[in-house]
Amino acid sequence: MCDRVNIRHTKERCFALVLRASLLICAGTLIFLLGSIFVKGIGAISLQFLFMPAMEFGKSGGVFYQILGSMLMVLVAAALVVPLAIGTSLFQYAFNTRTSIGYLLEQSLYALNAIPSITYGIFGLIFFVNFLNTGISWFVGSMILAIMMLPTTTLSTYQAMVAIPKIYHENAAALGLSKSQIIWRVTLPQSFHGIVTGSLIGLARAIGETAPIMFIATAFSGVSVPKSLVEPVSTLPTHILELAQQSTDPQALQNAWGASLILVLLVSGFSLLALFARSRLTGRGQK
């Protein structure tokens, strides 16, 4: 009897040990990565670095236009994707749940989420740049990023809608509210946290992408604030790529770490905002 208890305790300890080791590996990797970027990048950060344009292919100057380009592209992408994601989720949720088309749409969104980002870039190059002859355009880049963000934002919104307890809909329907009124008064307010979270996670993913926009929306140097929809911009990921190619130069390498740190801070900022929005809005909507 006593032996059996000891064996059970030993098994439990081993199991807990394996779990702790998994946690340590995951957290350790993240801390090592972020720590390295922080330690190596902090030296490059200064007001001048943040607010000056890049010079000599990034070896000197700052990353002002890169930050601007990245933010412009992802914010426009978000503006394009959010209405589309809400519309798709609502259609799927309110009208299409039990149909085979609904099932197909849901599976397509999951599949779209798993497509490698370079594929989006190639699609943009073939369809927009070559076929529609748009040239290198930051707006085309935003559209491609929007397509990339679409599954994340849509699925997050849809899941938030599905999670609304059925009793809310029944109570609203029992008050004589029509389907559209239920959507406006119950579904959308209560899934708002999902829309915000999904959009911010989508933004966090999109802002760090290089491959989909490299051929269609960005230039490595000589760009400033775009004056039309069909001009290129420079973004932080493509700038880091460019600097990494000159890594034999210590100054370029230093700036690459600095730009990486800013990119990490931007991505972390969006992720933290998403976390904050989820905790605040979930509590408010579904208390």
Partner: protein, 271 residues
């Protein structure tokens, strides 16, 4: 939009109700979830006014019947019915092409209090948002609804406060007030006191008795004592069929059937 006056003057039952002798009529009604028949071949006539309690063991089909009376069961996957259901003289399917009209005339309060995550004020007006109300009208309606549900004294100083901060009993009375401001001709109550404390339960019972003098109330309850206190008419269901129905005096007297007597006295059904 008039202020709800259910307890003050005669109810707003419309002309088609007046010419009917029954608020609800079920003929050969059977209800299904998928292929499972939950209630079969029910014939039932409920009066224009008064409180009708549906009693019986769990799974008897009481809530299923109730949920078809305002077609709320349409929201449930695989739910269907056969037979005829007439509410206020009109068939619930062909007579109410716009289901929202049926639901406005047939209010419903569910077992679990469910308030929307907004203010008490907005909760009361949730069903009236399509109507253009002045601020004063809206305020009057909210006050009257809350007074009807005996909640005004408790919440009058925090109407803009969140409805989900109320106690469960208060939330249930808020749900009742929310349904009453629509001035329904029929009110469906699905075990409205099942999840609240005895004091709140008593307040709701008092309210149901008062309302029953003006409109038709159909209430599902497992509480035999409650049915005895508030009902005018009792329908005893078991295993998807009506075992017996009659006035309260009949159903709670020695003249009722042996099965009813067993259920009422021992809370047991051997159907």
């Amino acid at each position: 939009m008039n202020i709800p006056n259910l307890l003050l003057v005669s109810s707003n039952q419309s002309s088609d109700v007046d010419v009917q002798s029954h608020s609800i009529r079920l003929d050969g009604f059977s209800a299904y979830y998928g292929k499972n028949c939950i209630v079969s071949d029910i014939n039932l006539k409920l009066p224009i006014k008064g409180v009708t309690c549906l009693v019986g063991p769990s799974g008897a089909g009481k809530s299923t019947i109730l949920r078809w009376l305002n077609r709320i069961n349409e929201e449930t996957e695989s739910a269907s019915f056969s037979g005829t259901v007439k509410v206020l003289g009109r068939d619930i399917m062909s007579g109410y092409p716009d289901v929202t009209e049926l639901r406005r005339r047939v209010g419903m309060v569910f077992q679990q209090p469910c308030v929307f995550p907004c203010s008490i004020y907005d909760n009361i007006l949730m069903g009236l948002r399509t109507q253009k109300l002045s601020k004063a009208q809206a305020r009057d309606i909210v006050e009257h609804g809350l007074k009807l549900a005996s909640l005004w004294d408790e919440v009058s100083n925090r109407l803009e406060g969140r409805a989900d901060s109320l106690s469960l009993g208060q939330q249930q009375r808020l749900c009742l007030a929310r349904a009453l401001v629509l001035e329904p001709d029929v009110l469906l109550l699905d075990e409205p006191t099942a999840s609240i404390d005895p004091i709140s339960s008593h307040a709701i019972e008092e309210l149901v008795i008062s309302l029953g003098r003006k409109i038709s109330i159909v209430m599902v309850t497992h509480n035999i004592g409650q049915a005895k206190r508030i009902s005018d008419h009792v329908v005893f269901l078991c295993d998807g069929k009506i075992v017996e129905q009659g006035t309260r005096a009949h159903m709670f007297s020695p003249r009722c059937s042996a099965k009813t007597k067993t259920y009422i006295t021992e809370d047991f059904c051997d159907c």
